[in-house]
Amino acid sequence: MDLLRISFALGLPWLLGTFVVHRIVPAAMAGRRVLVLGYGFLVGVMLLTLLMRGLDAAGFGLHLIFLVPVVLLLIAIGVLLEYRYPRSFGGVWLSRDYRDLPLWQKLLIAVLLTILAIRLGGLWLEVYWRPLFPWDAYMHWATKSRVWTDAQAIVPFVDYDEWLALQGRGVFTDNHPGYPITTPLLQTWMNLILGRWDDAVMNLPWVLVAAAGGMAFFGQARMAGIGPLAALVFCYFLLSLPILNVQVALAGYADVFMGIFYLAALMAFYHWSNTRLFWQGLLALLLAAGCFLIKNEALYWILALLPGFAAVFLPPRRLILLVGFGILLSAGVLLFFPRDLEVAGHTLAGLGLQFHSDAVLPLLQSLFWFSNWHLLFWMVGFMLLARVIIGFLSGTRWPRPLLALCLILGSAFVLFLVLFLFTGYALTVVGQTSVSRISLQLAPSFVFLAMLLYQDLAKIPPVALPAQKRRTGLE
């Protein structure tokens, strides 16, 4: 019976989201199925939790008797639309791209798929068996789900002092009452369908978000023209990142959702900037908006998209001027912004801006020395350097969409460095606590960047080196 309920709980939002994305994505393209399925889960989670908020705000609470029919109704609309305006889910199962591959590549694809199946399967079992474990999950994520599952309504959480002032009437409190509520709502949904509180099974969506991220990544990689083997190799790099895996295994934090949602938004933005396809732009907007529903840090990561927009539309000289203006504006904000005004949960006064030199080495250790990200940042750093050098030697310009992506992730990384080298959060670097969790919100996007750099480097013609030129001259 549990298996049926779990399938229902996970399948309904996935189906809902898949129908929505299926309508958005045009038919007939490489990797369409996995792209629709991957983005479908993410959009489905968003829609489900928005529905839950809407129904609760309308006075219906979180009672399944209202919630499930609404979800089923929306799915029925999706079915009806498919009936009236049928659209192919995907092309042939194994296209020519796969059939024409050499045997060793087919074998490698089989090996990688097996590794991924073992990885995700093992994580599924771990989450299914292990009850809620990590610190913050107990402190301020699952607390809300626990109360809402029992009350079958979104009961407000307030800070400690407000709770005392209200004497706890109609309100609850925990350590971070203001955190976005999407992941607790998702846990609540799972428990409501299960019919009981189960702080292990309620975390199964964490496994699915990783799988969906991998599927979306593969689909967008194929959309970018990456071959099936290379796309799968980078997909494997993404899904084998240890911190991503451990955040799934010890489920309950929202960082992995944030990382996958941001990745999905960024990939769609990249393709929109490359092709101006409306549906990619729509997906980018949807998923970027979804980021705000996941974690407060979304504000900073979405702000980092602005340089990317500028790179898409502005000529290089104006872009450089704009970047310079952006730096001046940032300096102005730091100097003149009201110290006590809270933005995304933080104030300038609370951040305590100053350089913490003792955080530099631990930060480098976190990214390069420990196995948090395997070889991801080595790979990205090396490829960026190679692209700069080879581009300089060969005179090859950066494609605008790739430049835009580099600017976005570069800006996000600068914000990341400011947070962990210039604020009180430097302590968390020294103690190796939250630095990896925040890195997880960006790391999946760096895998996408690495893949695009590989594609771009592969297209550059062989560099004419001085030794070659002399030989040519002699001959």
């Binding site: 590794i115 990885r119 093992g122 994580l123 079992l125 771990e126 068996w129 292990r130 009850p131 474990f133 990590p134 610190w135 107990y138 402190m139 699952a142 607390t143 626990r146 109360v147 029992d150 400690y160 709770w163 005392l164 004497q167 706890g168 609850f172 409190t173 350590n175 009981r196 509180w197 702080d199 190799v233 790099f237 084998s240 240890p242 911190i243 895996n245 451990v246 955040q247 295994a249 010890l250 934090y253 976190s366 390069f368 020395w369 420990f370 196995s371 948090n372 395997h374 070889l375 080595w378 190796q432 606590t433 990896s436 969790r437 590989y454 592969a458 062989p462 080196l465 030794a467 030989r471």
Partner: protein
């Protein structure tokens, strides 16, 4: 010459050559290629299952193994029969065994014969003091101990044994114990055995994965992998610019090296995840919520909250949690939902002012250092002269529950 150039342009040939060069560089850095100055070249000594007996604990021979059962205190000792062995002839002790992960600790015990010194009339006892060294039991390929790192491992061996500690009644099956000399093959096997190390998931695991191996020989895996990759790519780069060979650049070579390097880091991680899942299955599979809570680290807190629940009435009762221990506070608060717990993290006085507590509220003290109950006055007292009338309702070793009057 043209044949060599032709072969060298085959990407798979280059990939294999560069991989080997990378491995050699790693092996050299790890010290695997360099032998010990004093040389430890004794013949391998093996103890098979039939050679093994036990002292504390109980054991029996089974096909291909010796099964050792820890005694009621969770101990077992396995003496190894000796015959004129010199400690200096051996570099490695290796143990092939099953169910080692159920152990909490294992040590090698030994003593050597004292040497007769003609300068002294009164000689030392014939057998020297008992020495011990921890055995690394968290690897993925048997237990390997580098004896050269133990200064006391020198001289003629008088006694050698292995002491095990773990849950009472735990069973360990030992297939073979070996003393092995310092050879290239043994050093490579030792390096491989130390590549992965099992660290059970803990609270800090969600924040960092350091990628430790068993030290020695491997403190962190990353430097070795980066060395492999750097050497391979550097040599490839040199070949690309060399006048003589100049193979065409092929992504499959660089990509293949990267994939091997990534696998080398990912394989021990996958092993750790799989082993962790097995531990989770053993601890939690098939259990109810309550049984899982009792199997986990919060057992005492769960028992306390189960004890106090019937006394709180229907939810949501207001429960003020008083503790300076963050772990206790946050776990207890979580377990009390959907009641209405108040646990203010980091507040020095552990409770708000007394006028914030109303009759009918509850106070749960968890090893509190500042909130005290005075039975004579029937009051709870805490700093800044705060006091409130309360009656004790429940007590266990983890905490006490009071109802405010």
């Amino acid at each position: 010459m043209s044949g060599m150039v032709g072969v060298s342009s085959k990407w798979w040939f280059l990939f294999c050559v560069l991989s080997v060069c990378g491995f050699m560089a790693v092996a050299w850095i790890a010290g695997v290629l360099s032998s010990l100055p004093e040389g430890r070249s004794g013949h391998v000594v093996e103890w098979q299952a039939a050679d093994l007996r036990h002292a504390p604990g109980s054991g029996s021979s089974i096909p291909g193994a010796y099964r050792l059962v820890l005694d009621t205190q969770g101990r077992a000792l396995l003496p190894l029969p000796l015959a004129d062995l010199s400690a200096d002839a051996y570099r490695f002790l290796t143990i092939e065994a099953e169910s080692v992960r159920s152990l909490t600790h294992a040590v090698l015990l030994w003593s050597v014969r004292s040497r007769h010194d003609p300068l002294f009339i009164q000689q030392s006892p014939p057998i020297g003091p008992l020495q011990q060294a921890s055995l690394p039991i968290y690897g993925w390929s048997g237990i390997w101990l580098d004896l050269s790192s133990l200064p006391e491992w020198s001289g003629d061996l008088a006694r050698v044994g292995i002491a095990l500690q773990g849950p009472p009644g735990a069973e360990i099956s030992i297939h073979q114990v070996r003393l092995a000399p310092d050879t290239m093959a043994n050093r490579l096997a030792w390096f491989f055995a130390g590549w992965a190390r099992y660290d059970p998931l803990a609270q800090w695991s969600i924040n960092v994965f350091k990628g430790n191996g068993i030290d020695p020989p491997i403190k962190f895996r990353m430097p070795f992998v980066v060395t492999f990759l750097a050497v391979g790519l550097l040599l490839y780069g040199l070949l690309l610019v060399s006048r003589r060979f100049r193979p065409p650049f092929d992504w499959r070579v660089a990509g293949g090296l990267l994939l091997i390097a990534w696998f080398a880091l990912d394989a021990p991680w996958q092993w750790q995840l799989w082993r962790q899942a097995m531990d989770a299955e053993k601890a939690f599979a098939g259990k109810t919520q309550g049984e899982k809570a009792l199997s986990g680290p919060d057992a005492s807190i769960y028992q306390l909250t189960q004890g106090v629940y019937p006394l709180l009435g229907p939810p949501p009762a207001r429960v003020f949690i008083a503790t300076s221990q963050e772990y206790l506070g946050l776990r207890a608060a979580y377990r009390l939902y959907p009641h209405n717990p108040y646990w203010a993290r980091g507040r020095v006085n552990e409770l708000p002012s007394a006028n914030q507590l109303k009759p009918g509220d509850f106070v749960l003290t968890l090893r509190s250092t500042v909130v005290k109950y005075e039975p004579e006055s029937g009051e709870l007292k805490w700093p800044d002269d705060q006091r409130i009338s309360a009656e004790p309702l429940y007590a266990d070793p983890t905490g006490q529950l009071y109802r405010v009057h």
